[in-house]
Symmetry: C2
Subunit: 176 residues, 2 copies
């Protein structure tokens, strides 16, 4: 039987950091390099703590999110062997729902609507694997966990870390 | 540990049949009584097969869906004892996403965004119980299943049937 993988959106297939910093520079006039964020918590990404929440309510923030390098090709490769589910904790941001659905349709047309899940808490997701950048999602998952590298998880090492999509493919090929 | 219940929206907490027949009469001028539907498949509800799909794309169809009698009070009672997740196969109808989120906020304000899931295929939902009117969702569920009565499931009897929300409470109280 084919095994299943739950794949997160923001920070895993969508480059949320690049988007946030681009919009931050556009709206606040201050340029921050992604490398400066390493080890910070998500609340400390930019000086104005409400900037992210503000952007999530603005049209286009989720719909124009850049792709994480290699995400499309890698998810396509994995989908030949695994049942892929895109699982995003989108419910916290009601405005994001239709934009995230549109973004997936445009960038991952090979993922069926049957395999898309927008949720809040991910603890009820019952796939075999989960690829996510958030400890809060991975810690409560019952299957095998893969932690996608992000500035906010650099000090956590109790999940198998991958730094990019090439490393995901290598790990899955190894029979993890 | 508290057990968890996945509760479907359309046909379980939202009265999809009443809404469909009301909109059908408004747009096509033909009145159909809900009792006439018993045993029909979902494709045969109204003579015009594309009516439902048409309505799902129209503003307000999901946002103004009537409540199933007793749903709010019963889900509130269950939430004292169980972790409740509202799980809707909304992804097939992208237009429904924001309206369904809005409807839940208005009618079930005590359900946190953390406990709402909009998905396609429900087979990856890993709760202890599932209350749903669709065989296709219940058949692939790994936990205990409760089939909410609907015109399209009257000829299926391989899941525990409940006819209304009072029966759900009685069943759960019995230690099912």
């Amino acid at each position: 039987m084919r095994k299943s993988i739950a794949i997160d959106m923001d920070g895993v297939i969508a480059d949320e950091v690049v988007q946030l910093l681009t919009w931050y520079e556009r709206h606040y006039g201050l340029k921050i390099h992604p490398n400066e964020l390493s080890g910070r918590s998500e609340d400390e990404v930019v000086p104005e703590k409400d900037a992210y929440t503000k952007f999530t309510k603005m049209a286009g923030f989720f719909r124009t999110m850049p792709l994480m390098p290699g995400a499309v090709e890698s998810v396509k490769k994995l989908s030949a062997q695994y049942d892929i589910y895109i699982v995003s904790a989108a419910m916290q941001y009601p405005h994001s729902l239709s934009e995230k659905r549109e973004w997936l349709g445009a960038n991952f047309p090979f993922i069926s609507w049957r395999n898309i899940i927008f949720c809040g808490d991910k603890s009820i997701i019952g796939t075999d694997y989960m690829i996510d950048d958030h400890i809060k999602n991975l810690d409560y998952f019952k299957g095998k966990t893969i932690m996608f590298h992000a500035f906010h998880n650099v000090n956590h090492n109790h999940h198998t870390r991958v730094n990019n999509w090439d490393e995901v493919l290598t790990l899955m090929d190894s029979g993890f």
